[in-house]
Amino acid sequence: METKVIVDTMWVLITAFLVFFMNLGFAAVESGFARAKNCVNIMSKNFVVFAASSLGFLFLGWGLMFGDGTWLVGLKGLFFVGGADNSPAVGEAYKGVYSAISWTGVPLWAKFFFQLVFCGTAATIVSGAVAERIKYIAFIIFTFVMAMFIYPVVGHWVWGGGWLAKMGMFDFAGSTVVHSIGGWAALAGVIMLGPRIGKYDNGHIKAIPGHNLSLATLGTFVLWFGWFGFNPGSTMAADPNAIAHVAVTTNTAAAAAIMSATIVSWLLLGKPDLGMTLNGCLAGLVAITAPCAFVSVGSSLVIGLIAGVLVVLAVMMFDRLRLDDPVGALSVHLVNGVFGTICVGLFAQDKITGTATGNGLFYGGGFKLLGAQLAAVISVAVFVFVAALATWAILKAVIGIRVSREEELRGLDIGEHGNEAYAGFQVFTTE
């Protein structure tokens, strides 16, 4: 076996493991930001979501996303990754039906596994926003729809050789493909579900503090850690310059966003809110996800600083809009997913790590790249939001998506699972 295939496969698998590990991060962040009485439910959702994604992406998602097909969806080798394929052959040598991803010289199952962990992430993002009121079964079904249809279709457009790819749109590691998709689907869910009981009573916005900020902090650390798989791994090849560059842009954006979010919340709220610091970190990471391999370290600093400010303002804005998002998923993944996608069009420097993106607006590339990025932002927004809204609406009509008032008051842990997260502890929630 050629050495390059070996090292590339190692890199792809190891970074995929790190991305897989982000499931733990999401579970911890989301449950930490919610109340103790819903903790089992959130843990269950975040645990089962990767299982459901794994099966859904295996059955159909992969095929729709990477199978040769039209500008819109894949059509060949749809089911069970069953198409012809002679990976790790690349370029001309490749003979098979998954040609859009034949640029990376690793075995088929390595490609599949790496793409699967990304699909799982998109599905997980929804979980946090709809927390503390959604029916377990409705969430599971929605996850299958995400992993089998919504995610792969957009994925095909951008990474599967579809129309956005052809248009010259660039999304290195998925600000759009993973985070915006998750964000728009979450927004649809938040709208369809309505706010938690007591959140906006009598016209007041009420704080509903998370039950475990230790857990939320650890979770954010895990996500930050996992992002070193997410972004540098998206090279899908152990290219030394690129992966080192991406590691540093990723970390710099996170660090800058942490600082700016902390400072802004200090100034606006009087004290440095830990929740905002954590969301700041994630905002920086989401924002740098699309441009991480296309921009300089200096630009990543600027992108991070802006992302940190954006997320604080977004959290406060969504509350004003009465969109109840217990964990800030919209502010992190949606707002900054969009922002990051646009940043490519602004800050990109051609071939900075090898990819011929052309320059962004700030580097003299004019509006060409920016235009493609905006086309992606808008088309993904429309498609995902509509598809998700329709899915939620059907689920609502058929099986219901929200638990009963009584169940919500007592907690979903008892209602949905018959379990308690912290037996023996005196936990009292007075709302």
Binding site: G198, L409, R410, I414, G418, N419, E420, A423, Q426, F428, T429, T430, E431
Partner: protein
């Protein structure tokens, strides 16, 4: 003086605090409690084995008041806590012969408020 003990639903605490404020009762002590009353419990399970939970979460208020505040305090609690459903809770009233403010050493009706 009387010592009023009230058991209410946890999610009614805020409402009761508000009605008490309106009744000019500003001081109280709150404890968490588990209650076994008319209200039915619920079923939990853990790893395949069922658990019958019949101690439900309640909030216990303790409010010491002078005689002339007793009725308004009771009314306020009922106003805030009542939903008409089983589980609304109970109020118990005890005689309170003496009350002392630690900070000043004051005793009796003076000390209560």
């Amino acid at each position: 003086m009387k010592l009023i003990i009230a058991y209410i639903q946890p999610h009614k605490l805020n409402d009761v605090k508000q009605t008490l404020y309106k009744a000019e009762v500003y001081k109280m002590s709150v404890t968490n409690s588990l209650g076994c009353g008319q209200q039915k419990g619920y079923h939990e399970s853990y790893r395949g084995v069922g658990i019958e939970v019949n101690l439900l979460k309640k909030v216990r208020l303790e409010i010491a008041v002078n005689e002339n505040f007793v009725e308004r305090t009771i009314t306020a609690i009922i106003e805030g806590a009542k939903t008409g459903q089983i589980g609304d809770g109970k109020i118990f009233i005890l005689d309170l012969p003496e009350c002392i403010r630690i900070r000043t050493g004051e005793r009796g009706g003076e000390a209560i408020g």
